[in-house]
């Protein structure tokens, strides 16, 4: 039986529903030494800000049981470099590009989104309002529904590409933020970003991360992520990109059953640099074994 992995997220057409998550894949160059990026549904690049950012002091990553904490702090080379060096290279790799955008102010977000849309180098925008590791911006826009709606409305006026809003799990009711993003004009939602966590070194009696707290990702958060995708899918009729601890094709299928249209893979890339192409093949095998011709057949079936 032949399986059709294609998926349309609104006007964004992907050959399969699996893409690396922002921050876990740089701008694609490093993983392209391991496999052709054209195998991927899309590449979601590292959060891009108006100006270059060095990020937080090290240590800024730490393993925890079945997961990791990171407090990178949106380190990135800044918009100019991303437009002149990174995106032109990635645009030659025959894969759709989703640019994750972060900012300190509403004006920053709008300027970066505007410039990326005008460059013609990207296929969609993922608005990062959920980074837990920076003082300003990021999460500041992602925890209050009214604030988020205002930001999405403002970005919408300059955004000519499909606009996804990446939601934080560090809120009381994620559905409220999803509704706010939708009413602000989002074309889709990505969820979840990392959960705020901490690890303490018993020898130094201090937090391991220099930033003290960091975002928890990996297998440890998968049940939380599946539940949140489910909860959002029940209330909002927008394409959802689900993520949080996806390591296998079965994990990806579980998110689809919870209501995701596509998935992002983050921490798994660090454990296995071939995680994304492997997950695509595992998903294909699962669908073949289950007699599923098209991913839409199982989308949201658990709702």
């Amino acid at each position: 039986m032949s399986v059709d992995l294609r998926v349309n997220l609104g006007s964004l057409s992907l050959k399969n529903p699996v893409m690396p998550a922002s921050g876990c894949f740089g701008f694609g160059r490093e993983y392209s030494e391991y496999y052709s990026l054209s195998a991927l549904g899309a590449v979601v690049v590292k959060a891009t800000t108006l100006h270059p950012r060095l990020g937080n002091p090290t240590p800024r990553v730490s393993e925890v049981t079945s997961g990791m904490l990171n407090a990178i702090g949106l380190a990135n080379p800044g918009l100019e470099n991303v437009l002149s060096e990174e995106l032109p290279w990635l645009a030659r790799q025959d894969v759709p590009i989703i640019v994750n955008v972060a900012g300190d102010t509403m004006d920053d977000y709008c300027e970066v989104v505007d410039r990326i849309c005008q460059s013609g180098l990207a296929h969609a925008i993922e608005l990062n309002v959920s980074c837990p590791n920076v003082q300003l911006g990021g999460l500041a826009f992602g925890v209050e529904a009214a604030v988020l709606r205002n930001l999405v409305e403002a970005v919408r006026t300059v955004c000519t590409l499909p606009l996804f809003v990446k939601l934080s799990p560090n809120v009381t009711r994620i559905q409220d933020l999803a509704i706010a993003a939708a009413s602000g004009g989002a074309d889709g939602l990505s969820l979840i970003n990392t959960l705020i966590g901490m690890k303490i070194d018993l020898n130094t009696r201090r937090p391991v991360l220099a930033n003290r707290t960091g975002g928890l990702s990996g297998r440890a958060i998968k049940p939380v992520a599946v539940r949140m995708v489910h909860d959002v899918a029940k209330e909002v009729r927008l394409p959802i990109i689900g993520m949080g601890g996806i390591y296998t094709g079965h994990d990806a299928a579980e998110f689809v059953m919870a209501g995701a249209w596509a998935v992002e893979v983050g921490t798994a890339n660090f454990t296995d640099p071939y995680a994304c192409p492997r997950i695509i093949e595992e998903l294909r095998s699962f669908m073949e074994a289950e007699g599923i011709k098209n991913i839409e057949e199982i989308r949201g079936c658990a709702l």
Binding site: C24, E30, Y31, M68, A268
Partner: protein, 249 residues
């Protein structure tokens, strides 16, 4: 790769010998491999371990590691015949000397291993080597004899129980005109070396250590700052070896 041996060198430092297919011809001294712990389920982050020795003919790779946490405890339990998933070689190692002249190699503690492969390569090229190795005490010392076959070795211990007492910088006389310095060890030692050689024209290369996630330059987890602190450098990809003029130590 297949585990051939796994031996204790000191109270907490072990050497793991691996055999099998590996891109040996691509290895430069100072590079590392990223070791998968178990099947990666409980331990999603690989552990970066420097290549202590590499033999393309015998197809063996030796990794020296300090047992500090769950991951390296798992490595310590590996027995001959088991297989281990290693990714590599990764990063940029020690460049060849840029100008002729004697070479100084300085290692501290678990920073010593990558310098062994370097010393082997330089010795094979008939480069004159002065090797200074610093350890905490006599129980910490390893591979002094192995290094002794490659150059003139000075051992230093902090408590003076073996070799010269004190830190490695105290063992460096002013009577030698080294062209190149290669070093790996605690950041405090690397800083002290840079200070010691301030004003000389020795070319210094240092290998840095940091907690890593991807190990290939994609996640920006293990960065340091360049010399004027204007840009980040990725220790896993741009390093782990840097010219000491290039970065903030």
């Amino acid at each position: 790769m297949l585990v051939q041996g796994n031996r204790r060198l000191t109270s907490d430092i072990w050497v793991l010998d691996l055999v099998g297919e590996f891109p040996y011809d691509k290895v430069t001294p100072g590079q590392f491999v990223h070791v998968l712990i178990g099947d990666g389920t409980a331990h999603p982050l690989r552990r970066p371990i420097s290549i202590a020795s590499c033999d393309p003919v015998g197809k063996t790779l030796s990794l020296v590691y300090r047992v500090v946490g769950d991951g390296t405890k798992w490595m310590r339990e590996r027995r001959p015949g088991e297989t281990i998933d290693v990714l590599g070689p990764l990063g940029h190692g020690f460049p060849a000397p840029q100008r002729p002249g004697p070479v100084l190699i300085v290692g501290g503690g678990v920073g010593v291993p990558p310098l062994y492969q370097l010393a082997k390569v330089l010795h094979a090229q008939n480069v004159e080597l002065d090797i200074v190795l610093g350890f905490k005490d006599h129980g910490d010392v390893f591979w002094a004899d192995e290094f002794g076959k490659l150059g003139h070795v000075t051992i230093c211990t902090e408590d003076g129980s073996v070799g010269r007492p004190g830190f490695v910088t105290e063992a460096l006389g002013d009577d030698r005109d080294w062209a190149t310095l290669y070093s790996c060890g605690p950041r405090s030692m690397l800083k002290a070396l840079k200070t010691h050689f301030q004003g000389t024209d020795i070319q210094g290369y240092v290998s840095l250590e940091e907690r890593m996630a991807c190990g290939i330059g994609a996640c920006w987890g293990c960065t340091c700052e360049n010399a004027d602190q204007s840009e980040a450098r990725r220790i896993c990809k741009d390093g782990p070896v840097f010219s000491w003029e290039e970065i903030q130590l």
